[in-house]
Amino acid sequence: MKKKVIVACGGAIATSTVASNAIMEIAKKNGIDVEICQCRISEIPSNLDGADLIVPTGRVKRDFGVPTIPGTPFISGVGVDKLEEKIVSVLSE
């Protein structure tokens, strides 16, 4: 089944593009079929339908009822391996 991942940042332009590309590659490598929904953080609630994972590029304190993993390592380059593991484990469920 296709997994829906919401990737969000402030303006849906810069950091979320970086994170989206990274998640696409991770999914391809692990044979997971994903659909990326790239949006602004303020647009997360409207895109929640059928979402399996939310990856905001910064810390989001609000609980959306969907697994949320901060994607900041994709931007900084520090701790990417650990983040990759977490994402794969959520999406493989």
């Binding site: 940042c9 402030g10 849906a12 950091t15 590029t57 910064g58 609000r62």
Partner: protein
């Protein structure tokens, strides 16, 4: 030989930014070891971004411009120049001739400052070099002097990296982002004003004890917070105020929704094109400057998820419009930046440790200063858009981010002396606020090490 070279360069420049920058980025990417196929694709994506942006900005100015003018005429306001926002201004900046060498220049300034220990901020964010490029591009568009343009990039870059150092303790204690900072953009360069405001409020009995935050505001306003809805409301309300009937006002509303929704979709193509280059730069900078004494400089977007930043960003949508009416003689109609006001105040929220009451004061001051400066930079923004072929049918454009930047303003004023009084006022107040920022940063760093010690 030299003549032939100059001919080739001019020939390429004459084709405009949608051709020039793709070629530059493709060559730069290949030089850094990106595979040619991938590099060419990246270059073309940048071209796509420019073409798309032209369409959207054209639509915005064509439709919203006359409505804003009509509204202003009816109410005796002067808000006739549309703020195209950072989604509009950044591509225009990238299409300046200065941008061709701004990326290497900004990185070089960073490396020199790191090696000489003038900064601890390692900027790995290529996209936001546009903020530094902007100061140079404006100076170049206004004076026509390329060297002064490059000097503008150097000065803005140097100040940015120092701001990155200043805000690092706040990143650690408020945003809980250890070893990370955000040196660029409105958030970083406007936060010194918040340090001053915070100091003043601390001195006032009664006021210093007021503290409120608004965790649930976002949930309460619901879809009202979404750009697609903001665009519709703003468009139709301005239409009605401009004397449009229902049949004219609603289409304007939907068109402005379209601008809000489509703008990031086209501008992100430019980011996609910069990706291979920025990935390489990230690897190189991280390898070279690795360790505890360095802060990694990232996009301020990582701060925008904080609930107090979100809440303040919402409150400041109507507040910014109100301030725009109150600034004497203001001609700028805030629009393109409204959906991301959070960028202006994110670090200020951290300065006040999430106290929304104080953020209201500092944010109002920040937006007042921004709008006041953005007014005077209308001719410069228009000139920049004109020289880069991005003006379209508009006669004037404005941008709060970053046409309201004190650094850009003071630098170009110092070269042109158009408004000496304005330059002196902004320069002095900004320097005073920077002193408060240094004091504030030291205080927070001391608090932080005390906490670690316990």
């Amino acid at each position: 030989m030299l003549e032939a070279g100059a001919f080739v360069i001019n020939y390429i420049l004459d084709m405009g930014p949608s051709v020039m920058l793709p070629i530059v980025i493709t060559i730069l990417s290949i030089a850094l070891g990106v595979k040619p196929g991938k590099a060419i694709r990246a270059g073309l994506m940048i071209g796509v971004g420019f073409v798309g942006l032209g369409l959207i900005v054209g639509l915005m100015n064509e439709q919203l411009g006359p409505a804003a003018q009509a509204m202003s005429d009816r109410f005796g306001l002067s808000l006739s120049v549309v703020d195209i926002g950072w989604p509009g201004m950044s591509p225009i900046t990238w299409s300046s001739n200065i941008a061709t060498i701004a990326i290497p220049v900004a990185i070089l300034v960073n490396i020199i400052m790191l090696v000489t220990k003038l900064t601890h901020t390692v900027n790995i964010d290529i996209w936001n070099i546009w903020h530094m490029t902007f100061t140079g591009a404006v100076a170049y568009a206004v004076t026509g002097n390329f060297a002064l343009g490059i000097l503008g990039v150097v000065i803005h870059a140097a100040i940015s990296y120092k701001l990155g150092d200043l805000w690092a303790p706040l990143m650690a204690d408020y945003f809980e982002l250890d070893g990370i900072t955000s040196p660029h953009g409105t958030s970083a360069y406007m936060a010194p004003y918040a340090c001053f405001v915070d100091w003043v409020i601390e001195k006032i009995p009664g006021m210093r004890d007021v503290d409120f935050s608004a965790d649930s505001l976002e949930e309460k306003v619901g879809v009202l917070a979404e750009p697609v809805v903001i665009g519709f409301i703003l468009g139709s309300v301005i239409g009605f105020l401009g004397g449009y009937n229902l049949q004219q006002a609603l289409p304007l509303g939907v068109t402005m929704s379209a601008v809000m929704v489509l703008m990031p979709k086209v501008v992100k193509c430019i980011m996609e094109g910069l990706m291979p280059l920025s990935e390489k730069a990230k690897v190189i900078m991280n390898e070279r400057f690795d360790g505890e004494q360095y802060y990694i400089g990232l996009d301020p977007a990582i701060l925008l998820g904080d609930s107090q930043v979100v809440a303040a960003g919402l409150i400041f949508i109507p507040l910014t419009l109100l301030i725009a009416v109150l600034v004497p003689g203001n001609r700028v109609l805030p629009f393109g930046d409204l959906a991301t006001i959070g960028f202006f105040i994110a670090i200020s929220v951290a300065v006040h440790k999430g106290n929304l009451f104080r953020t209201l004061f500092s944010g109002s001051l920040i937006m007042f200063v921004t709008i006041w400066i953005a007014n005077q930079t209308i001719p410069w923004m228009t000139k920049l858009a004109e020289t880069t072929g991005s003006l379209g049918d508009a006669t004037a454009i404005a941008a709060l981010d970053q046409g309201g930047c004190p650094i850009t303003y003071v630098y170009t004023q110092a070269l042109t002396f158009e408004n000496v009084a304005g330059m002196i006022v902004i320069a002095t107040t900004y320097i005073v606020c920077l002193v408060f920022a240094v004091m504030h940063s030291r205080k927070r760093a001391a608090e932080l090490s005390e906490m670690d010690g316990e």
